[in-house]
Symmetry: D2
Subunit: 350 residues, 4 copies
């Protein structure tokens, strides 16, 4: 794994625990890579990595490494990913794929070539495996919402609401590529297309930067990425999806909001209620129609498993969605391990 | 650890991960103990235990074992706990403490004696460390709700709603001690007393079994524990708390509901919205009073940590409440590791 | 109508408007009665009454009066109601029926006698006709929740949360009869029995006064009614209902909360969300079970009526529940006008 | 009043009751006008009108008529309004103002001329006086949300979700002017501008018709108005508002949703929770920030008024928002009667 900050910590958690919850081989956490030797050593100890390194090029040439998990900033994605693929390593990297179209195209070419040799590559669209959204996808695929027409996707955060918050690399186009658009609209758009199995045919939108300059160490610096973005997407199916993202929506910490309206029903979801799916079935009598709040992660009480003796090994729980969920990159033959039937029990009595 | 079913899995998760989130030494998961050799081997492999055993007595005599975590059913608590304490091992066990008053008294005596020799013992009242309830306790302690008067605690589940669900050891008094009363009222009552720092002076209540017989392998068997229980507790402070628990509340999967009304404010919580605390401040102008929905687990965006360079080691996140939270048994000098400032980020963009 | 304060205003609103929403004759608002001539004149002008009077005895002897609506305090109920019934007037009065058992028995005797002569009498349990609760009753009657077992009813208010709020007649046993018990538990209990069509076979409970003295004009005075009350009711059906009421639940303005758990489904309601009914259907696959939020008052868009030409007269809307809803007293032959199919539209576009 | 269907009923309710709740003179409901003599007679009897007529021209020439309330369809607005203003009558009409820009300009000219002669004119943007939105406006005006930046307004309905619903005059451009845009985006946009006291400087958007043909009496007919519309509005203050409206959002009956994000706080509102305002104060410590659910219509218990004797006449309650709320047209010198302090009590114990 390359990088050990925010996403590095999250991915470590996933690698460390996935085999306790899913029927997969236990992965070995071999090397953690970072630029600062002391920092990476500290992180490796905390997060369960056996070794550390400061040069990612050395690491990807090792024979005992089969997967390279890139948690480094976006401007490093292309170089590392292409090198890793060429070295025959499977690659997982975080969204957004790249900071520029040219990088993305080069990465896609490398990925296609690698795949021909059996080497996989994926972008970590982790929300695809949130249990509530897995259920949403199932309901949509089964026709439970009918023909989808009006779709709304918003991803609202507020960490830039303070206009005196200082300048950072995430607010410069050269390092971050874009602002809310690449960082969170990427999730919102991916989720719309993934849930519906649909494609964009036309897009219209705008971006805006509410705070044009922010304090840097040596005075005000220009913010060169967007604080917010809006778009409507015409989809191949005939549906239209609005997408709206913001980093200045005061009070919204991490609210990915989805609303999908079909002619037989509707689905709503808010990431701030991670384990709930709202579903309205418009085929029941109008008198009793209403959005159901389905607690997706708690379908069955764990005691129920104990009614009669049974093998413990079949008790596959998923206490909380992890970063194991991913999406294939650039175009998917999905290779995820089958998710067990959801008998999870978020937090409960002994 | 003794036992590897529901709680065994949850505790394993905690032992395996606690050092990645808190400033504690990494614990070694040495031996998992269970009656069925194959079952315990399978569980140990999944949950990260180095060895397995089928005889708990042998294990607690080992010198390399310092902590015994008892996840076995309640009727085994007293025997194992007392033996472990006498062997000089720290003991963590699940609630309820014991199935009978006599057992509880014997365990308490053993615990007091052990403590004099520096050996700790605790009951795993895990909800005490749910971040939303930690905040509730802080607000109450700071006087933000004023003098508490009316308190409501309910713990509602529905796994016995089907009256044809079969008989199980949990529905027999000899094995389970009690029904909803010991299993979930124990949590509700503990939480009331813990949050308020209060004590019961008087109690009045009743229990009820809605389904008196359930199908067993050889025909109907009598259910000898309660399906539901109700009580009012007079507290030393002058407050009165109602407690209501049920296993037949259809649609309530794991709803621990708390409402605390004081003369300066109120607090509400529902475990089915694990990361939210409701708080009403009655000292603000009446025009703007209302229950706030505080998203407790998401106080700060992780990107904020990256404004200026800083040591990675201070980034202590708590992605979800774990079983590390415990309560001291029998009467507490609290010994919990200090919880880091809550910079957690439940699930978010990279 | 006798009395013109809180309930007098509400009942006036109902008499003035009922014929615009229901197929009933328009009632004539003939005389408003109150002790203070100026006050009653002012109220009559505002609320649509043709005349005023200060002596209720004179009014109930008038031939042009057919209905006496008693909105006076509870200690006057028995005298007025019995006199009115004996004068052959139909009587509507507010809950609670009476301040003492003896009064209630005398009133019941008078009511039974009057009914034999075709004179009706009713207690105004207005929540019985809240559209969401009408739907709840229908669903229960149709077996949609199955056999009801666990029932919870709470009525929480906070107007006595301030322990320096002054003494009032409502806090004296001689004038008010009781506190929260008669004032709001009466509603909660009525609603449980009405919704379930059930009867109490056994009751156990307690009351409590948190603030024993309150400032009066000449110093502290003793509060002689309850601030809060708790009970469990065993019902003839085998269900058990808890009832909990409070006047010190800070932040709860008028929260009548009902939860009804059966073996096929559950129903929840909170008066603070007046137009919503929560319904969980436990007969659908577990994957999609969840409490539905049914917006009871908005089943159909008013534009739908305009698809093809139709008679305007059939457009019976019910914009908000009024005090027209009542319950029969002492034992009912219901005589309410049939409620029109709910095509109401709370507030909407033109 | 001209017209007696949906809005005619709602306006009648307001005229009939306004003097019971506000300090205004009681209005006389003189003539109800409609094309069908029998229909209008029936409606007049139900809604409290003294006379009926079928020719609006005759009525507006009467000397005893001072106000003309136009509840007729949009294509009749211009002709009636201009004639009424020229006859010296105050005019209230429903939104949208007109079906075409030319009509709107002619009406505005007539309105400006009339105003010089002391004749008022208003468009009925009724949501402006919803108590929760009145509070929102106050909080914004007082700076409680700081500088507003990101604003979201959506108005979602579902009465066209069924693509077999028949053709109607509301779906033809010649009669309806537009679809969701004029009917409900008018409300959403008015509310944004009214709450913020702001103006649009730039707009970008699109409309869409999901169902292009609908069954008419003689076969399919073309729908010539929009089913849904999207826009972003740049505002003079620097804020940006998104507006999104739909008639095919299955399960949304009448959901006007507003979200206003400033640098000191945020406000949210949903018309389906008519009496609630969400407010987040970002100036309190981050630990206790959260959206408050303010129950706007229930600030004080009615019993509190009875603490000590007081004049009844000051007890001005507002049980539910009525159509009395209006907005000035074309540009306002507001002339609304002062709203009383909100001591309303939606529905409660006697």
């Amino acid at each position: 794994m390359i990088g050990y900050a925010f996403m590095g910590k999250a991915h470590s958690n996933a690698w460390r625990n996935v085999a306790s919850y899913f029927d997969v081989p236990a992965f070995e956490q071999i090397v953690l890579v970072g630029r600062d030797a002391a920092g990476v050593a500290n992180a490796a100890a905390k997060y369960g990595w056996a070794e550390t390194a400061t040069d990612w090029r050395e690491v990807i040439s090792r024979d005992d490494i089969h997967i390279v998990d890139i948690c480094a900033p976006g401007w490093m994605h292309a170089e590392i990913a292409i090198a890793a693929l060429e070295a025959g390593k499977h690659v997982l990297l975080e969204k957004p794929l790249a900071n520029t179209l040219a990088e993305a195209e080069a990465m896609t070419a490398a990925s296609v070539e690698a795949r021909a040799a059996g080497v996989q590559s994926m972008v970590g669209f982790n929300y695809r495996r949130v249990p509530a959204l897995v259920l949403a996808k199932e309901l949509i695929a089964e026709g439970r919402v009918g023909n989808v027409r009006h779709v709304r996707a918003a991803y609202l955060q507020d960490w830039l609401a303070d206009d005196q918050a200082p300048m950072t690399w995430r607010l410069r186009k050269e390092t971050a590529g874009s602002g809310a658009l690449g960082d969170i609209a990427s999730h919102a758009i991916d989720q719309v297309l993934f849930l519906l199995g649909d494609q964009v045919t036309e897009v219209s939108g705008r971006t805006h930067t509410f705070t044009s300059h922010r304090p840097g160490p040596a005075g005000p610096e220009e913010v060169t990425v967007d604080d917010a973005a809006w778009a409507t997407l015409s989809l191949a199916s005939g549906a239209i999806a609005s997408v709206e993202v913001s980093r200045v929506a005061t009070g919204r910490k991490n609210s990915l909001n989805l609303e999908i309206y079909g002619d037989k029903g509707s689905i709503v979801f808010d990431l701030e209620n991670l384990n709930e799916l709202g579903f309205l079935d418009a085929t029941v009598p109008v008198r009793e129609q209403g959005f159901r709040r389905i607690l997706v992660n708690e379908p069955e009480h764990p005691y129920l498993e104990a009614w009669w003796p049974r093998a413990t090994s079949s008790a596959g729980n998923i206490p909380s969605p992890t970063k194991s969920a991913t999406s294939c990159w650039p175009s998917p033959p999905a290779r995820h391990h089958r998710r067990r039937s959801p008998t999870a029990w978020r937090s409960s009595a002994s």
